[in-house]
């Protein structure tokens, strides 16, 4: 046990925690934008699976990671369009249509994988980019400045999304249509357009989250996400619909996962109990949500379709 606490292992575990947190973080930031506008999207996991597959497949076929990332974003955009049309224009029940998106993503990504790839074939992972000078600082460098570009980008998104929501007219419109769409409508703010844009942004980020997962693992298999997208939805609640809160939740999640992985590698957790240990993050989320429930307030119009009259 003492072995675990050596500094270098601790740093390696923390660095791995940061890396593991990133897909959650990106997806949950996207979901935050959508939910702030009053739209719950339970399909995040499905969008991530689709985008992860197409990202992986693009790398497999072309080896071009930037192209692959763009493809992943494109998948998010297309799924966002579908979801936005269904929920904003057809006023579909959000909970159910989101589950539909998830099931479609789960099934279609696996089908495509079996048809087009078949056996799991590893591809190159996204490379780490060491920040000059900073990455050379002992431990600190390893912890914060030896990551791939998507990780830097993901954490850079936190202040960007936060600024967008608080300081721009678009952000003001988003929270207005999420809290009181009638009020926004009465002042000439288009609830449909605002929600449409928020959903597209949210799904774009879900697509990026899926792409990140595939690029970091250099692999695809059926149900690659293993419910990650659903955790991301829960993290939005955990973070009380604020980007920084969501980031804290994602990091906590990544850290617990990294610690469990490390303990497994060391054999501190017997192989037979590894499945139970894998549940630790989920239990943590449930506990956190139970404690926080009632103290945080969701956007008042969340899940409520809007129509005049």
């Amino acid at each position: 046990m003492s072995q675990f606490f050596t500094l270098s292992i601790l740093v390696a575990t923390l660095a791995s925690g940061i890396r593991l947190a990133v897909p959650y973080l990106i997806a949950a930031l996207g979901e935050t934008i959508g939910q702030r506008s009053g739209v719950l999207n339970l399909g995040v996991d499905g969008v991530m699976l689709l985008s992860a597959f197409f990202t992986y497949w693009t790398v497999l076929e072309t080896g071009n990671m930037w192209l692959a990332t763009a493809v992943g974003l494109g998948v998010g955009l297309v799924m966002g369009l579908i979801y936005a049309v269904v929920t904003v224009f057809f006023h579909a029940t959000q909970g159910i249509s989101g589950i539909g998106i998830f099931l479609f993503g789960l099934g279609f990504s696996e089908l495509m994988f079996r048809k087009q790839v078949g056996a799991p074939t590893p591809v190159d992972k996204i490379a780490e980019v060491d920040i000059p000078l900073l990455s050379k600082i002992p431990h600190i460098g390893e912890l914060f400045f030896q990551h791939d570009l998507l990780i830097y980008f993901a954490f850079g998104l936190v202040p960007i999304v936060s600024f967008m929501l608080r300081k721009t007219t678009f952000g003001m419109n988003i929270s207005a249509v999420g809290e009181n769409p009638q009020a926004a409508d009465s002042l000439g703010v288009s609830v449909a357009k605002t929600r449409f844009a928020a959903i597209l942004l949210g799904n774009l980020l879900a697509g990026l989250a899926g792409a990140t997962l595939a690029l970091q693992l250099g692999l695809f298999q059926g149900n690659l996400t293993n419910g990650l997208g659903f955790i991301a939805v829960a993290l939005v609640y955990f973070g009380a619909w604020r980007p920084t809160g969501v980031m804290v939740g994602a990091l906590l999640y990544g850290m617990v996962q990294a610690t469990v992985n490390q303990l497994k590698i060391q054999g501190s957790i017997p192989q037979s109990a590894s499945d139970i240990a894998a549940m630790a993050p989920a239990l943590l989320t449930i506990a956190a949500l139970a404690v926080l429930a009632g103290r945080i307030k969701a956007p008042s119009a969340l899940t409520r379709p809007f129509s005049r009259a």
Partner: protein
């Protein structure tokens, strides 16, 4: 622009919905600098007409002229651009945002995609000062009082330079003092040439504020008048189509012994604060005790504690005919003679999807009268329902109609019928006629009086001062959870009660 033309003319407006004609050939006009009241029962077509003006509905026939020119308004943005403002009955505010953010919503920012809340706040302060509408631009709206929220709504319209302002039941949520302040503000606005549409069914307010009055009934204009030429009774008659008694006849009834005795009652409210604070109260047999107060001063919690929907803090006594009600569940309270007409009639008083007959037996469906060994006796239920619908003059196609499709007044009659059939010893009626048409209100008042003569002890909680004064033998005024005074209704004036409601005692 035509200089002699009125600010607004709506001509021959007709709007049909499936099965209903909401507006039929309605003419309506507002001049510069006048308050033109639109009066009518719920469903008379006032809201439809204003929604057409604001671009939320398109009229099937008719035309709208602004400043003498024909306009086509097809969205709220068009209306705002045409300098029409609307203060909605249910405030159109985002509670989590600040006053400035609420005002800026939907406007072009001087700083492009970034908000320009500083300059918005500056302008809000100017408007506040000019119009006497004190409000802090950086305060979040959920922290504001109802009166302040309404000021924000008015500022929103003035910020957009509204020349025609529609106020949809703006006084419904205000204290009498706040109403007076509002009227001062509105008068000042007309002096600067703005035209106002005032929607209300509080007749004394309509008489006090209006320059002209247009009355709607069943989607059509039933009369035009001015306050000097009409009495409140005349207005009520135009609204209902027959003569209406606005204040019920109150025969002398000798009050009996106290039936309900409350001592040292304190109640914790939804937010964890003390909602009812150390209340002592007696209600006698054959007496109607009115409870007046601005919404949110503990009236609802008081009613819920007596009805058994909420627990009091330790140390309280609530006795009905000398027997404690504490620790007694709602069913047993009913069996002891308590009836309750809740404030939120569709949420707490009836089940919308159930038929009229089902709602009429909602409480008693398990009793021997309507069921045998757990099976409902439909013959008895139908007979009972038909009799009550007849006796209480419930307007419904038949007893198997879903209750939610009735008007508010008729739903209230269904609930009243059910609650009064139990021949209660104690009746609590919360807002018995809120949102109820005048004709039904008159009927409900008569039934309450009938109950009083039978010796029921009745508590009527109402924000309508005319109702409280007209019905009650004594009036208890609640302020911040306390009963700050109990006055005899013979000595009560609107002004005196209004001051007490604002917490002023001498």
């Amino acid at each position: 622009m035509n200089a002699d033309a009125p600010l607004l003319q709506m001509r021959g407006i007709t709007k049909r919905f499936p099965g209903v004609i909401a507006n039929e050939g309605v003419d309506f006009e507002v001049r510069y600098g006048e308050v033109h009241t639109l009066l009518g029962e719920n469903g008379a077509g006032k809201s439809t007409l204003m929604k057409i003006l604001f671009g939320l509905y398109a009229p099937d026939e008719g035309e709208v002229l602004l400043r003498g020119e024909k306009v086509s308004i097809s969205s709220p943005s068009d209306a705002i651009a045409a300098r029409i403002g609307m203060v909605h009955q249910h405030f159109m505010l985002v509670p989590t945002q600040t006053v400035a953010e609420n005002v800026a919503l939907g406007l072009k920012s001087k700083r492009g995609v970034l908000t320009d809340l500083d300059s918005v706040s500056e302008r809000i302060r100017e408007i506040s000062e000019e119009q006497g509408l004190a409000v802090n631009p950086s305060e979040e709206v959920w922290r504001l009082s109802v009166g302040e929220r309404q000021r924000v709504e008015i500022i929103k319209a003035l910020y957009r330079d509204a020349e025609l302002l529609v106020l949809d039941e703006p006084t419904a949520v205000l204290t009498p003092q706040e109403v007076e302040d509002l009227f001062v503000v509105l008068r000042r606005m007309t002096e600067s040439g703005r035209g106002l549409v005032f929607i209300s069914h509080k007749l004394h307010e309509v008489m006090a504020l209006s320059d002209r009055i247009t009355v709607l009934r069943n989607g059509k204009v039933s009369g035009h008048t001015v306050p000097a030429e009409s009495s409140r009774e005349d207005l009520a008659q135009m609204m209902v189509g027959r003569a209406v008694r606005l204040t019920p006849e109150r025969p002398i009834v000798e009050a009996g012994p106290p039936r309900l005795t409350i001592r040292s009652l304190s109640v914790t409210g939804d937010r964890g604060t003390t909602a009812v604070d150390n209340v002592d109260l007696d209600v006698h047999s054959g007496e109607i005790l009115g409870v007046a107060g601005v919404s949110g001063n503990g009236q609802r919690e008081l009613a819920e504690v007596i009805a058994g929907l909420r627990d009091p803090q330790a140390g309280a006594t609530i006795d009905l005919d000398g027997m404690s009600l504490l620790g007694v569940d709602t069913r047993a309270r009913r069996d002891r003679g308590l009836s309750y007409v809740p404030e939120e009639r569709m949420r707490d008083g009836a089940i919308g999807d159930f038929t009229v007959s089902e709602n009429l037996i909602l409480v008693d469906h398990g009793g021997d009268q309507f069921s045998r060994s757990g099976l409902l006796n439909f013959g008895a239920i139908k007979e009972h329902a038909a009799a009550l619908v007849e006796r209480y003059a419930v307007k419904t196609p038949d007893i198997d109609t879903p209750t939610s499709s009735l008007s508010g007044g008729n739903i209230q009659k269904v609930i009243m019928a059910r609650e009064l059939t139990a021949e209660p010893k104690l009746l609590i009626a919360s807002q018995p006629t809120r949102g109820v048409d005048i004709g039904s209100a008159e009927y409900i008042h008569e039934r309450l009086m009938e109950q009083r003569e039978k010796g029921t002890a009745t508590i009527v909680i109402s924000e309508d001062l005319d109702e409280v004064i007209g019905l009650s033998d004594r009036i208890a005024v609640m302020f911040e959870g306390r009963i700050i005074d109990i006055v005899d209704s013979e000595d009560a004036t609107r002004e005196a009660i209004g001051l007490l409601m604002a917490g002023v005692t001498n």
